[in-house]
Assembly symmetry: C2
Amino acid sequence: MSKANVIRVTSEQVIARVNARLASYLAEQRARAAALTPRAAELVDALTELTMRGGKRLRSVAIYAGYRAVKDATAEDPDPTTDVAAAVELLQTYLLIQDDWMDDDEERRGGPSVHAALSRQCGDPKLGASLAILAGDLAVGSAFELLHGAAFPTHRAAEARAAFTAMHFEVVCGQQLDLLDHPDVTLTHHLKTGSYTVRGPLKLGALIGDASPEQLDALEHIGRPLGIAFQLRDDLLGTFGDALATGKAVGNDLREGKHTSLVAEARATLGGDARDRLERVLGQRDASDAQLQEVTDALETSGARARVEAQLTAQLREAEDALDAAPFAAAGSDLLRELLGRIGLRDR
Amino acid sequence: MSKANVIRVTSEQVIARVNARLASYLAEQRARAAALTPRAAELVDALTELTMRGGKRLRSVAIYAGYRAVKDATAEDPDPTTDVAAAVELLQTYLLIQDDWMDDDEERRGGPSVHAALSRQCGDPKLGASLAILAGDLAVGSAFELLHGAAFPTHRAAEARAAFTAMHFEVVCGQQLDLLDHPDVTLTHHLKTGSYTVRGPLKLGALIGDASPEQLDALEHIGRPLGIAFQLRDDLLGTFGDALATGKAVGNDLREGKHTSLVAEARATLGGDARDRLERVLGQRDASDAQLQEVTDALETSGARARVEAQLTAQLREAEDALDAAPFAAAGSDLLRELLGRIGLRDR
């Protein structure tokens, strides 16, 4: 294969392909459900609505970048990563449904969360939550179904399935630590977010491209800091972000008492009254806007925000250094560099 | 292979092997979780506790029976069904955890349900429920991991994975219908219980044995009525069973307002006062023992119990007729016949 034939694919093209695949797959699932009984289609509708309402599809881009990092592709190739990308997006749907219910989050991606929508529909919060969990169940089952049909080289398929279940295992453990306000925020990030946002997707893409052990190792060295960077950015957006861009109410993280990196930094430095005010507002769902503003200001003036931003920069630099040293194909390296930028600078 | 070498394996031997595999697999999972962080081991402990506390392992026996129906085995063979049987048992753990939380059931298998135990531990019902859902998540992830490693013939593995995801899809849809009190109780049974209790396991076992299309078809004809019979028996036990044997409080189904086959039959015939009394007690968690007894008596005197028992007998006969006509190996037929008896006569 001559270098001249190697094609460049943009993130936007990857995202469009994944969206098309998700739409066609979910339409098939809906038909299957409706064939069992019309009501079952409602569950598929609920998860479809959330899945197609947006989302950054960063994981799909990471999968494709991981693939292209280890394999040149020509125009003739169909994209072999689309099914596993759709699988990971549906894994995310399932995790978001559960996460929103666990955190009592009413909004997601600029619309109602699944349990909130279903509770409103049936007028019974417990039934709505139960149906949301079932919609999540369908989503995770669909994720595995797509994984099973994905185009891994035969001799790497078992490894890929193991990577997927390992990713699932880590993210569930990370969610547990998050619920328990585990003091090691970096570990929580690493497990809850890094696993299936960056590290897992990069590995799955690379396995589709039949990566060498050295290449998998290099991707792990990029993915680990990048996953933590993603979550640090998420924490910053959850307190200082624009509600319109993030699709979530501002101040949510504070109102929910989330044990974010910002809170950890603030706790480590704030003393006296400022610390007391933080603890009083944290987890208070009915905190006033003025109270939230006061705490947000304290996170700024105490230097907590600046320190989290510095951590973010350091993690991104670590990922960048690992990328510079990696034995990757040029098109894949470029996509990975773009992914670093997206994660570092995203506003939603 | 001479017929003389064909070995007989009892259900008890199958169950012992599956229990041993579950114990060793869950110990590995616990070690993996503890290596991430000690707290994660608590989730594995919660699902292990429920999994190993008993359960009839009917599904494991069905898998082995399906396997032996299509394949003779000699003493030299290791049992290739153990991993997929453990997978289906963990799928059940996940379903039971969710089901108990959805139904607010505090007891299961003679001990606390997972959400009840975890809620008590942390003193917060919502957090306990969330952690229970996460324990269920680990269980379903484990089920898929075991499935991925199961010993299907290479050319049947994709079909087996598809059978597993189809089974998962059906049971989730069935659970939805159950929550919604769907009027078609038979359809609900077929999807919620039949799918993963009998039909799915028989098929998975048969695929390990590389079954012919005719054999798969015959198993479907046995599995469908047998799955419905299983649920009818469950309904009878839920109202007339012995709490000590079932591991659940008697009258639970009535207190929870479950739309069982008994209730459907009673509604079709009870009139006037008796019908009013039924509706008043159904779903009343604080119904007195005297009220429950009155309704239970009405289910008897109205003939609802007798009609459900007649349906059960008819479904068992249908399964038996299908078995008589099936092109199966003798040892497998015997195990299937034993399974029919277990399902028809079980007291827990």
